[in-house]
């Protein structure tokens, strides 16, 4: 099968154009749209991270809400207990999530396949129940960010002055831009990572773990690396999300539905194991959500049916099927043989 790869600059130009358009949204769009898109961009960050885990490292985790929750609680602790800027709290959230991913990995990496999935879920439940005991952050009933936290957040003042909007609107805009930045960074890092030696090793493991070991690739080491990086990205995203939500409870911060099930849906319908897949998935998810938002819980039923339909009829997801049928490749991960050398 021939593969047509776009010249390298074309997807790049496309990506820059799309990023610029998204970055301009707060300048022209109403605040509700900015808030909506913030949620969607965060969902995309979670999806990109989960795709690295499940799609490239074969680690089907259903416990990523653990790292969203840990990131969110760390951010709250940084603000409430230590009086730090919430954005510093976000960074700490990512780091703490990555640090806690080490003991979690020691536990779940002893398990395989479905048992691994269950293990990650158990780890997330332990984190939820554990943080529910943290009285300083409201225990089981949770707590809110102190009034004025987002108003004083780094970057809100200048944005307020520049665009002439209220403090609340300015903080939404700052969060939105940060979420967009996080999407672009995650995408860029994922692409560079997958094109690197480590990424090539990861793809070899995915194809044949036994053969990979026999050419010197250590599957546990590479998978653990992806697990830690995904925990970092997911933790950052958790912190960011809960600045906008402003209120935290263990159930909301460690929600399986919000931070893993929807994410899983996005990746699977978009195309697991492809970089553009989660982007396509999140667009479809957003469209469905808008179309069906008036129908209450029927929305979840339609979403589920759509997911099942994709799994049955387009098993590689929408992007995967399109790419397979047309040979189109954005963000190609392949390494081409040196051209001059092929000629005898």
């Amino acid at each position: 099968m021939m593969k047509t790869t776009c010249p390298a600059y074309r997807p790049l130009a496309l990506a820059i154009l799309a990023a610029a358009a998204l970055a301009a949204v707060p300048l022209i769009g109403p605040r509700a749209v900015v808030q909506d898109l913030f949620g969607i961009l965060c969902l995309l960050v979670l999806a990109l991270n989960w795709n690295m885990l499940a799609g490239f490292a074969g680690l089907v985790s259903v416990g990523q809400q653990a790292f969203v929750g840990i990131g969110a609680y760390t951010m709250f602790a940084a603000v409430i207990l230590f009086g730090l800027d919430p954005l510093a709290g976000v960074l700490l959230g990512g780091l703490v999530a990555m640090a806690l991913a080490v003991p979690v990995a020691c536990f779940v990496f002893r398990l395989n396949g479905a048992y691994f999935a269950i293990g990650t879920w158990v780890a997330a439940e332990i984190a939820r129940l554990g943080l529910g005991q943290w009285k300083a952050l409201g225990g089981g009933t949770g707590t809110s960010l102190p009034k004025g936290t987002t108003r004083d957040m780094l970057g809100v003042g200048p944005v307020k002055e520049w665009l002439g909007v209220s403090s609340a609107a300015a903080s939404d805009i700052v969060l939105y831009w940060l979420a967009l930045g996080l999407v672009l960074a995650t995408l860029g890092v994922s692409w560079a990572f997958l094109r690197s030696r480590t990424g090539l090793g990861l793809q070899a493991i995915r194809d044949n773990a036994m053969a990979a070991r026999s050419v010197g690739i250590d599957p546990v080491r590479l998978k653990a690396l992806v697990f830690l990086l995904a925990a970092f990205g997911t933790g950052l995203c958790g912190g960011l999300l809960f600045i906008q939500i402003t209120r935290i409870t263990p159930d909301a911060a460690f929600s399986l539905l919000d931070w893993t099930a929807f994410v899983l849906f996005v990746v699977v319908i978009g195309g697991i194991g492809t970089l553009p897949g989660p982007i396509v998935g999140v667009v479809v998810f957003y469209a469905l959500e808008r179309l069906l938002s008036d129908y209450g819980s029927a929305y979840l039923i339609v979403l589920g049916l759509f997911g099942i339909a994709v799994m049955l009829f387009a098993r590689r997801g929408l992007w995967g099927s399109l790419s397979g049928r047309t040979g189109l490749e954005l963000l190609p991960l392949g390494h081409r043989a040196p051209a001059a050398a092929i000629r005898p």
């Binding site: 030696r197 026999s214 050419v215 010197g216 081409r336």
Partner: protein, 239 residues
């Protein structure tokens, strides 16, 4: 000092003793053949040498160092390369990428050196024209060549070949044997399990005969092939 040395290596699966007190030495640059009827424990022996299996007792030495407790990856890095009996390509990667990943990991080559190194191997194994093709769609001969090429890309000092000539036509076999002989001529030691005896015997100097996990005989090709015992057990079981 022997490059690779097995000392009283034994392995059982339950009550079945698949490797029973096997010892032999492989000198640097030597080519050694392993023959024996199906189920004699030949592939198990390879799995013990590469570290896919751990021996119940005995030692495996590489350059005189005991590697019995080392992982498959560590042994690959130490210089043990292996081709599988049933080809195990990285199916979604291209032929070139199959070698690239082996050269970067097991071969320990830097990003700048690896591409030319891989292309050189691909040219020598007749795969250069298929470099950018997905490895999953290759025909049998190419898959066998890829097994050999990928093992070469890990820069082995001892190359373990598991029935690499099996299932090929005579013409294909001749080509492959020529490649293997060239690799051997450059100083890479080879241990080769093979049923296609004319291919094997045109490369190796010594033969080991395994039967029911036991080392039945070691010797130069002519002596082993002329032994009545080997003819009875090995050829009798095969014909």
């Amino acid at each position: 000092m022997a490059l690779l040395s097995l000392q009283s290596v034994s392995k059982s699966f339950g009550a079945l003793k698949v490797t029973d007190d096997v010892s032999f030495d492989l000198q640097p640059g030597e080519a050694l053949g392993i023959i024996g009827p199906n189920g004699a424990g030949k592939s198990t022996l390879f799995n013990l040498i590469t570290g896919n299996l751990r021996p119940d007792s005995g030692q495996i030495l590489l350059d005189g160092r005991d590697v019995s407790a080392d992982s498959v990856m560590a042994r690959c890095a130490a210089g043990i390369g292996r081709s599988f009996q049933i080809p195990q390509p990285f199916g979604h990667l291209s032929v070139y990428e199959n070698l690239l990943v082996a050269a970067r990991f097991g071969g320990g080559l830097a990003a700048a050196e690896a591409p030319e190194f891989c292309m050189d191997i691909l040219r020598r194994t007749g795969l250069a024209g298929a470099a950018d093709n997905p490895a999953g769609g290759l025909p049998l001969l190419s898959r066998k060549r890829l097994e050999l090429a990928r093992a070469m890309a890990t820069r082995p000092r001892v190359l373990l070949l598991d029935e690499i000539a099996g299932g090929l036509t005579d013409a294909e076999c001749v080509e492959l044997v020529a490649t293997i002989r060239a690799i051997h001529a450059e100083g890479t030691a080879i241990v080769w399990i093979e049923h296609v005896l004319h291919a094997l015997n045109s490369v190796v100097g010594r033969l080991i005969v395994l039967n029911f996990g036991r080392l039945l005989m070691v010797g130069d090709v002519r002596t082993v092939m002329n032994s009545a015992e080997v003819r009875e057990i090995y050829l009798g079981a095969e014909v």
